[in-house]
Structure formats: C-alpha cells, structure tokens
Subunit: 621 residues, 2 copies
C-alpha cells in the first residue's frame, strides 16, 4: 500500500476530521450493492472497505478509513483524458469528435450520436474511446508514458498500471472493441482501434487510492493547479469544460437528478471509486467497492450526497458576499498620510482633505465583487477630488474583475476626478491587472499608477489641499519662536536657544539618524523633507512618519537621551537646525521656564499624535 | 410602458454600463430568427427591440436598450410556479408529480415519463401544466390572484395579465389541452384540466419587462430574498431546487451543451425573454423577440453566452479564496487589551502574553472558509493558552460553517486550550451560530462566550499572565513616589505633592469625568478600575483605555487645562487621589524641578503609548 508522499496530512482533533469519521462509521452498516465482477481481479476487492479523502484548496489533506487503499481508477480516468485532449487539440476540434450530451443510456451503451457523427459524451465508454483516439501515439509505450506522466503529476506521486487488470480488460473487452470498430466504421476515430484500446485499457488500469483521486479532483477544483505541488497542469478553460461534462454526464445516466440532489461535478468508476469537485474549495474522493445497478459505488454516492448537503456545496447554493469585497472606504481626513503636519497644516487638512477617498478592496475580485468596488469608487468620484483604490488586500483578480477595473479610470475621469491604483505590487494578480490596463485602447491612463503606495497618494492629495489653502508651512525662513516646540517661550529667551543650534546640510538619501545610536540632539527641519523609518523583518525599512520645514524629529532625546528607536533619512536635499541636548539641559538649569515650555509642547504634540493614532485604530474597526 | 418603481436605477458612467451598451450595439445587427407567430398578439412585437437588465445582489439595477418594454412572460413563468409548488407541497410530493430530467425533446413535446408516471421536468409544457395542477384553486379567480401576487412580489411591483394574449392562448392551446387530458388519463394530474389550463395560460400571459425579470432572477440568486424589497419569498432550499432544474432543463433541449457553453441556470420564453441567474451575485434578463428554431431568443442566447464568458460566471469556474477568510492572526502581545498598564506590567506581558491568540475571520463563512478558520484556530491551540475567534467582520455564516464552528470548542479543549467566540453580536448571522452551539449535545461549552468583546477576552488573558508572573500592580497601598508620573521627583518634594491631593470614592458606574467639562484636576487610581470611554456616533460609549491602581488619568489637564476629551467611569467601587492643577502649578512655580519631572514623565508615557498605537496600526496592515 502506497501512501501519498507529500506529508501534509492533517490529522488530529479537527471538526472536519470528526465529521468524516462519524460519516464513515454511519455508513459501515450500509451493505447494499455488489462488487464488480466482469473481470476476476475486481472481485478480489474487500467489499467492506470504505475510504474518504478530502484535499483542500491549500493542499491540506483529510483522510478517514481506507483512504490509502489502492484500486484501479477505471472510468474516473475519463475526465483527465478529456482534459488532455482539450489541452492538445483545442475545444472546437474535440467537440467535433465527442459531444457533451448526457445519453440516458448505460455507460457501456453502443448508441452513438449519428446526427453529429460522434459519441454523445466523453464519460461513456464510446466517448472515452474516441477521446483516447485523440491521444493515441504511434507506439503503445509512448501513449502509456504520456498518460502515466499526466496522472502522476495530478496525483503528486508516481502512479503505475496494475498489469493483471490491464491484461483482463484487454482480454475481455469485446464490447469496447466492438464500439471502437463501429466508430472506425463511421470515421469517428482515425487511429488503429488496437492502439486506441491499448491506451484506453491502460488508463483504466492505473492504481490510485482515494487520497490520490482527491488531489486529482482538487487540481480540477483549483483551475488546473495541483494545490500540493503547485504545478499548473491544465489551463482554467480546460478545467471548466471538464467539470461541465462531469456535472451533466459524470455519474448517473440521469443528469437532472444528480445535479438536483448533489449539485457537484463528479465521476465514478466500477472499482468503487468516486471523485467530486467543489470549484475553488476542494476535491473529495471515496472508495467503497460495492456498486448499485448503474455501476456507481453505493456508499460513495451516499458520501457525496451527505457531504454536499451538510456543507452547502451544491452549485446552485453558493452565496458569495460581494459587499464584503470593499473592506472599508475612508477619506484622507480620517486617515492622513504619514507626512507629519504642523498644527496649522492639520487644521487646513481637517477642513479640506475630504475630497480624497480611499477604497480598500479585499478578497477575491470576481464579477460582482469588482462591480461593487467600481460602484463605490464611482460614487466617491461624484464628490470630486481624488479616488484611490488600494489593492494591498486583494486576492485573486479574475478576468471579469480585470475588465471592470480597467474601465474604471475612464469612468472616474468622466466625473472630473483623479484615480490612483495603489499597492498593486502587493496583490497576487496585480500584474495581470496592470497588463490589462496597458492594453486599453489609449494605453495605461496617465497618472493612474503615479503613486505606488496609498500613503504617498494621500500625501500628494494633502499637498494639493495645503497649496490650495495657501498653507505652505514656514518655508525655509521660519523663525524659531514660531515653531510648535518653542511655543510659549519668552521672546527674551529665543536668542539663547538660537545660540544653542548648529545648521547642517544633508544629501538626498543621506542617513541623519540611525536606529540604535545614542540620542544626543534633536532636529528642526529648515528645508526639504526627512523620512522617519523603522527596520522591517525583511531587512528593508518602512516609513512611519515624515517631517518638513519647521517640524522637529529626534525630540524624544529630550526625555531620556537613550538610544534612537528609528532612522531619519533625507528625502531630497535637506537642511536642519540641530540642538544639542547637553546644551539645552544646561540652558534649562539656568532658565527652568524654557525646559518646562519645551516639555509641555512635546507632551501636547505627542498627545495630538496619540489621538490621531487612536482614531486611526478605531477607523480600522 | 411601466417602469419598475423602486427608483434605484444605476445609470451613469460605470464600466458595466458601458459594457452593456457596447454589447447592445454589437448585437443590433444580429437579425437571425423569427418572431413567434402561433398567436397574432406575439407577432406585434417589434423584432428590432433589444433590452438588457441586471440586478445586483444589493438591488442596484443596470439597464440598456428596451429594458422596460413589456411582453408576456410565457415559459419564464415556469420556474416560479415550480418554486411555489415546492413551497406549498414539499420536495418529495412534487418530485412524485414532476421529474427533473431533461427530455431531449421539444418544449411542447407530448412524451411523458411513463416509467415514473410523470412528465419529465417542470420546464416543458407537460411538466408546467402538472405544476400548475399542484397550484390550482377551486375558482379561476383565486388561482389567478395567488399567482399574480407571487409574481408581483418577485418583481417588486404590481404585474397584470395581458387579456388579449390570455384569450388567444386559451383559444388556440389545443396541444396543451391534449397534454392535460392525457395526464388526467394517466392520473398524473387531479384537478379538472380546464381549471389547470386556465391558470397555466394566465401565468404565461403576465406582462413583464426584462427589468422585472432581472429582479425576479436576482431573487432566485439571493436564495429567495428579493434584493430590492427585502422580502424572503422562497426558502433557500426551494431556490436551490428551482435553479437545479433551470440548469439542466431551462434552455435548450440540450442540457449538456448549455451547461458547457454558458454554465448558468436560465429560462427562456417564446415572447423573446430570457433570464439567467448567477447564484449569490445577480440576475440577468434579456428581451429580444426573434427566436431560433428551438424557440429561444437568438440575441438573448448570445447576450447570456457573452456575458457569462466575459465575466467568468460559469458555474464550474467559481474561484473562492478560502485563505482570505482569516483576516489576520495576532497574539495579545502584538495587540494588547485597552487596559492601561504600568511599565512593570507591560514588561511582564511582553514576556508572557504570547499564549493568547486571536483569529479574526472576515467575509462569508462557507465550507472551505470556515474550515480554514477552524484549521488556524486548532493550530494555535497546539501552542497552548487561549484562542479567541473574533467574528466582528464575519459575513454570512452558512450551515456548513455553523457545523464546523460548533465543533471547534471540543477540538480546542482536546488540546487543553480555552476558546472564546467574541463579537458574535456584530456578525449578521451570529445568532444562528449561537443557536447551533446551544444545540450541541452537551449544550453551549462553558466559558465560550464569557467575553463579548475581544478586548475583554484579551484583558482576562493578560490578568492571568500578570497573576502567574506575580505582577499584581501596586494594590491599594502604593506610595506616590513609586508612581510613574512622579518618577524622578526628589524625596523631599513628595510630602508637598501629598498635601496637594484629595482622596475621593466613586460608586460602580459613576461618572468621574465627562467629556467637554473643564479640566481642573488629574487623578491617580488608588483602588478599583476606571474605564476611559468616548461617545460613539450611535449615542453609546466605547472604551478606549482603562486605569487600575497606581495609574493616572485626566493628566492632560497638566498641559492646557482645557476641556476633557473623554469620559472616565468607575468600573466597580473606585477610590482616587485627585490633584488640583491650580495647586500643582503653584507648587511648580516655587519648585520648577517638580513640574519638569511631571511633564517629562507625561511625555515619556505618551511616547510609549504612541509607539504601541503605531505598532498596532502596523499590525493591521
């Protein structure tokens, strides 16, 4: 017995594990049906075996019972061969050779769609043989190697053919041989029937456990990407077609009843294997050898039915929540940029920064989710100003979402508004979105990506508001007495302060303060902008604040003279007034009012910033 | 012409609006097919008319072209009547009377499922007549009134029958009459065929626009709740069954091809109407009178096919993103409670609070999403301590999620961990979850809901950590000299401070400070706990911080003596030392070192709190 080697087995006291074990024990007593007996090898299966396996979207595996017991894959091979044919020949060619209609006849029916000169669908034997014909190579070895390679990549481990079963199938498959010759007679297939049947019997004789099948099913669920190995095995369009055919033709010959009762694409085989797929969520497989009159595993059907019902997996039940796609909407007034502002600037922004709005999207952006995001963005554009769509928390972005979002710049521009898409680098499918924007008739709308981060986009909006309000900061000719940090100091004391300051220049990007250094001075920016950054876990830095002309940094040195907790870096050319802590303390000893005033101003500023931070924390709620 | 009255029309420069208009203009030149002519009234339709309407999950409407032009609903009435029959008689009874299999025959075929003595499905005429029989009343008026009431509630406006069409259908419906008599002959129906056919002809003669149909379709998409009126018209189980039948039997007689190509549940009528449903996302309807040989609107089919393809709506393509269900996972060390802590307490928590973890879930909790949340919670439980699942941002919680989450307490307890579910009151479906927990074999697990908020659950964990570390705060016998706010004050000055303080007691819940009051004192808690709260938009208050023995509040009065920005309330019985600002300032004038020390301590404390707040803001990212 071969255990799937990926070693990501989820055992232990999970709810779902309990559920599977309870289900297994419920069904142990269900003894209806008979083990397939048309070849002797199948009769050797233990009729009591019952195994269930689930593979989740991230590759985690649940198992219960005989989940690693191997049996031949039989007809469960058909959807994968159909996928291979679609991938090799394209949809139109394959549709010309095999239809997609349920027949209402037995799986081994010899009835063919004579109107269209093709078998009805690839899940009945005739259609599967026609599909194998599309994949038949000149030598039996080459066909076998390609088929085994595909199945092994789907199962995430090397699979092999059971030679006994293959020999039996080959020796007793008279009916299938008849079907193949009849199709050759009608020119439905082209290669020699012997080569086609060799491949067909081999594909049915591959040994799998239901854990293997659950992973193969999960690969169909995840649009062709194996969630354990990460390999993209089928294109998404191929899995859509495979799952469609499984939905209508995979199980019973009664398409309507299966969709009505279970509502999942599925496929069964006469060895007692069944696999079912929940698109985007998981693959499920069951092994139990006793079959009903139609040839489906009795307990396998019951597991699918109950699992789907108990977990709301029916295709017509899915309830996405498009409104959840917009995580929050806020204005620059509620969450300002990290550019530190003076009291006068803050007041001007309080009054004017409402015209800059951020729409934070989250989760997978599919049709209705992207429509909701676009709707919110367009609604905000009606208020004028700037709209920022922040993609930092976006999940997958599908084609529909890409199309809707790529038309958003035009819609927002129609309202006379600016639009920025920010944090696209963080979005897993951001690159696809950007490519779609490039491909727009007029090319990428100018300015759409001007700001990589939401912080810098908001900062630019704030600068515009301040410029419009005529609040431009003190420029490079401010007076020390006018600085927030020196507020309330007697005019007579100002010259004393001036004498304590040195003026220093820094080149763009130059480090002014480094975290960990001893703190011996505080700084007033005279010209330019200084970014305060902290080291990140990944070895880079992240801006937590910035200071412009007339603003201070490093002032915590006043309190303890300990070590710096952050870096300060010149953004462009920068000039600073630097105050030595030692000199200031000396000054304070002689004139306590100077020290009291500075400490009071410092506490007031910290208090303002704490209030802003708390408001920001609340706005996340 | 009657315009839908709900007045939530979305027009303007949205991307989707552009898309619809472009699609409309693309298809104007598509002139294949013929207007239905079996009764004279239908031939009067304008063959050039083309209307498209969409209704989104939140009831917003998109329209293009002849979206408000009325025509008779014809066979698009069938799914709604089927839903009404399921609602009235239950699934088993209805399945006994009408099957769910596609026929492969024309819609007006007289072939019946003789093996099961029922018509094949409710979307062909025979099945629709059998369905109408299940809804037939003793008088034609009563049947009509019930049917019209149902359709009107689905469309969100009063609908009416076109008397001319009804008369023509009634006079020329010989084939349907034959079907009804044949079914009576086989006892497939029971009421008098005349009454049944009266209802059937009336249901087909109701006038609707495609905007009406889009809303009716959206009601099926939203599990039976009309997204404009909010009325729950069908139970979710009923819409699942209706949509299943629409998927396999609604359109072509070729179930496989429709699911393969379009992949949406849909229904067409001979007036040229088609509606299609994307579960959980939207309803789509098209009106264009020219029909193909099968009786479906030529341009209607093309709109459905292109819309589904362009927006990734195929049932086998959906790509949920279960990993997105866990918004973030953090420990109490990263985001502590709002209980204000002394430096010693903070140090103890820094060392010990890692054993308390919060799993914040977000968005709709369906099977794979809830499984992911449970998986993360169980993983954290393996680290020991306490696991908190925060439901504040959860969307819908379906039955599968409820089942998985209700088993989580047991799974976490198995690992020797405590579990709390918090913020359930904020979750739209929290009540359903709680009911499922109550229904567990052993009842609601003890302690699971002990804390309503994540803040208080974290606070309790912190208290446990502090108790274990022996850091219990100064109790009620601390010395003023040991308080953070008086750190660094010369021992000789302490008696001066003591003389400036008064000691006051407060009853549980008593207001100590009210926001907006003049600030004339600051407070040191001597005994008990004081909550700092701010008013919320909804008229309540929200805790932003708390202070225990030896901690201060209202200290900002030291800086400006302005107005209070927050409330302070006694949590239980509280005793405080109250320092008058006026007295302290007098003291500071005589002894500047006292003032300098207090201001420095205040700034240091603010700086610490600002750092924590910034870390918290970053951890949201």
């Amino acid at each position: 017995m071969n255990i799937s080697p990926h070693g990501r087995l989820t055992r232990g006291a999970s709810s779902l594990q309990h559920y599977l074990e309870a289900l297994l024990s419920d069904l142990q007593g269900m003894t209806g049906g008979e083990v397939a007996s048309y070849i002797p090898e199948l009769t050797r299966a233990n009729p009591e075996d019952l195994g269930i396996a689930l593979v989740m979207a991230d590759g985690r595996i649940y198992q219960a019972g005989a989940a690693t017991t191997e049996a031949t894959i039989q007809s469960v091979s058909k959807p994968f061969m159909y996928g291979a044919a679609l991938a090799r020949h394209g949809r139109d060619h394959v549709l010309g050779k095999v239809g997609v209609e349920p027949t209402g006849e037995r799986f081994n029916s010899i009835i063919l769609d004579e109107e269209n000169n093709r078998p009805f669908n690839p899940m009945v034997n005739a259609g599967a043989i026609a599909t194998a014909a599309l994949l038949t190579e000149d030598s039996p070895e080459a066909g076998e190697a390609q088929m085994l390679s595909l199945f092994s990549r789907l199962a995430g481990r090397p699979l092999r053919i059971d030679p006994e079963v293959f020999r039996s199938e080959h020796e007793t498959g008279h009916r299938n041989r008849a079907i193949a010759w009849m199709m050759l007679n009608s020119a439905m297939i082209e290669p020699a029937p012997d080569l086609v049947l060799d491949l067909y019997f081999k594909q049915c004789s591959v040994l799998v456990s239901c854990t293997d099948l659950a992973l193969m099913a999960a690969t169909l669920a995840m649009q062709g990407t194996n969630p354990v190995t990460g390999e993209q095995i089928f294109a998404p369009g191929v899995t859509q077609d495979v799952l469609s055919v499984m939905t209508t033709c995979g199980m019973y010959d009664y398409a309507g009843q299966w969709l009505y009762d279970v509502g999942l694409p599925a496929k069964s085989g006469v060895s007692g294997m069944i696999m079912a797929v929940t698109p985007g969520q998981m693959g499920l497989a069951v092994y139990s050898p006793r079959l009903d009159a139609v040839g489906n595993s009795v307990r396998g059907i019951e597991v699918c039915r109950r699992f789907a019902r108990d977990h709301g997996l029916h295709a017509c039940t899915s309830a996405p929540d498009p409104e959840g796609a917009v995580r929050r909407v806020y204005s620059a007034r509620e969450v300002p940029s990290k550019h530190q502002r003076s009291a006068a600037e803050r007041a001007a922004l309080e009054a004017g920064a409402g015209g800059c709005h951020v729409v934070e999207v989250q989760g997978p952006l599919y049709f209705a989710a992207a429509e909701m995001a676009a709707h919110r963005a367009i609604g905000l554009a009606a208020q004028g100003g700037t709209v920022i769509v922040d993609f930092a928390r976006a999940g997958s972005i599908d084609r529909a979402a890409t199309a809707l979002l790529s038309q958003l710049p035009g819609a927002v521009a129609d309202k006379g508004c600016q639009l920025h898409f920010t944090e696209t680098a963080a979005a897993p499918h951001g690159a696809k979105l950007l490519a779609a924007l490039e491909a727009l008739p007029g090319g990428m709308p100018e300015g759409l990506l001007r700001h990589a981060t939401t912080d810098s986009a908001i900062e630019a909006c704030e600068e515009a508001v301040l410029a419009a309000a005529g609040v431009t900061g003190p420029g490079d000719s401010f007076r020390l007495a006018g600085l927030d940090i020196f507020r309330g100091i007697a005019p007579g004391h100002i010259p004393l302060l001036e004498s304590a300051a040195a003026t220093l220049s820094y080149a763009p990007g130059e480090r002014i303060i480094t975290a960990g250094e001893e703190a011996r001075a505080f700084y007033v920016v005279a010209r330019g902008c200084v970014n305060i950054t902290v080291p990140t876990a990944s070895g880079g830095t992240r801006r937590i604040s910035s200071a412009g002309p007339g603003q201070t940094f490093g002032e915590m040195a006043m309190l303890d003279g300990g070590r710096r907790s952050a870096n300060a870096e010149a953004q462009g050319p920068v000039m600073c007034h630097v105050f030595s802590i030692a000199q200031l303390q000396e000054l304070g000893a002689q004139h306590p009012a100077i020290l009291t005033a500075i400490l009071g101003n410092l506490a007031r500023d910290l208090s303002d910033r704490l209030r802003l931070a708390n408001e920001m924390i609340h706005s996340f709620g």
